[in-house]
């Protein structure tokens, strides 16, 4: 139990730092930086916990992003900053970058070395995983404006 807790804390801390770097890259205003880190850390920890409980990664990403999206609503109203400023930076650690690159390099190797079933399988698996995780993340973030605040602006 304590091992799991330790793993989650480690996960949250490193995901938080990762999100911090990207929020600087996106020039997120100073008053929103801490929120970025905290939201990213908790969302990533939630996803890791779900993965630990054998939830498939797409669903885990979707649930984590949904919770993140809903949690940013009260924050965004309080500080009057549009939600995407924080949500996108916070979601960056969960973006399936490695899978995307693997799908692309696989595609190039497929062309270069000729067709093989294993290579095709790798390309398809990585590509589909990339697409589904991305869709899970964005749908999750869109839940609050699409379902709760239908035609009203949040901020």
């Amino acid at each position: 139990m304590s091992e799991l807790l330790l793993m989650l804390v480690d996960d949250a801390v490193f995901a938080g730092i990762a999100a911090f770097g990207f929020s600087l890259l996106f020039n997120v205003p100073r008053q929103a930086l801490l929120a970025c880190v905290l939201f990213a850390a908790s969302a990533h920890a939630v996803r890791t916990l779900l993965l630990h409980a054998n939830v498939p990664i797409e669903w885990a990403s979707f649930i984590a992003a949904t919770l993140l999206g809903l949690a940013t609503v009260p924050w965004s109203r309080k500080v009057v900053i549009p939600r995407p400023v924080v949500t996108v930076a916070a979601v960056i650690p969960m973006i399936p970058g490695v899978y995307a690159y693997k799908a692309m390099t696989g595609l190039m190797t497929l062309h270069h070395q000729g067709y093989s079933v294993e290579l095709q399988q790798q390309v398809l698996e990585n590509g589909l995983l990339t697409i589904f995780i991305l869709i899970g993340l964005s749908f999750g973030l869109a839940i609050a404006p699409v379902l709760v605040y239908r035609n009203k602006p949040i901020v």
Binding site: V91, K102, T105
Partner: protein
Amino acid sequence: MSPKCNDNMTNSERCTSQHSTNKHGLSHKIISHEEQAAITRVIAHTGQLLQAYNAESRLIEQTTERLGMAFGLDSVEIALTSKAFILTSRSNDHCVTTTRTMKAHGIDMGIVCEVQRICILAEKQIYDVEQVKQRLDNLAVPKYNSVIVACFVALSCACFSHLFGGDSVVFIATWLTSFISMRVRQWLILLHHNLLTVFFITAFTATFIGSFASAFDWGNKPELIMVTSVLQLVPGFPLINAVSDMVKGHVTIGMARWMTATLLTLASTLGIVLAVQLAQLGGWL
């Protein structure tokens, strides 16, 4: 006459006019043609800024609409494409339409926040058209120091290597690799290179430096250095924006953004593949 009573209005029109009448209780003042043109120019500038700095389409739509309502227009409608946007403002059945081309400026959430803040101040009737125009013209949003940004982006990549199970040697090597390639990226952007070129060269640099670590077998998983130092190039922002645009009905611009993100990934992958082949390490998979 209130536009609220008109049954033929579309949902969004009804929604926006309710928004204006309920929230601000605006009486319908008469806006002259010149005034309407001036207001439209200011709103178009707002939309242009938001689009150029990669705001989500829904945000662009809402902000321009709210600004128009705040200035007493009947409605503001926009059509977004990947390279330009068309905006029509309507006041007393008189329309002004304008098109603005969009020059991509990269991602800057500071500007998006600032524009949104100006819009809200205008909505609360604190700013008038002239003040909004001046604020937008003299928009000065501080940027973070580029060395600090490079340090922390490199730290992000190093954190990814830790999350994928790398040890401290891998962590430090990833940080260094990433830092150097990030500085290269910033330098190329400063020289106003095409984004695809920037991604290609940056990915090449990162992978090439990272491949030395693999060759010398540093740390527990040396291949992680190569893999994670290019993660700074993952176009997460366009990808997330693309899907959320499509979810909220902006399918064409969503597709355009998805394609942009795919091209950027392709450019980085080409850089990776070239570096790997030069380093003669065989496949990256």
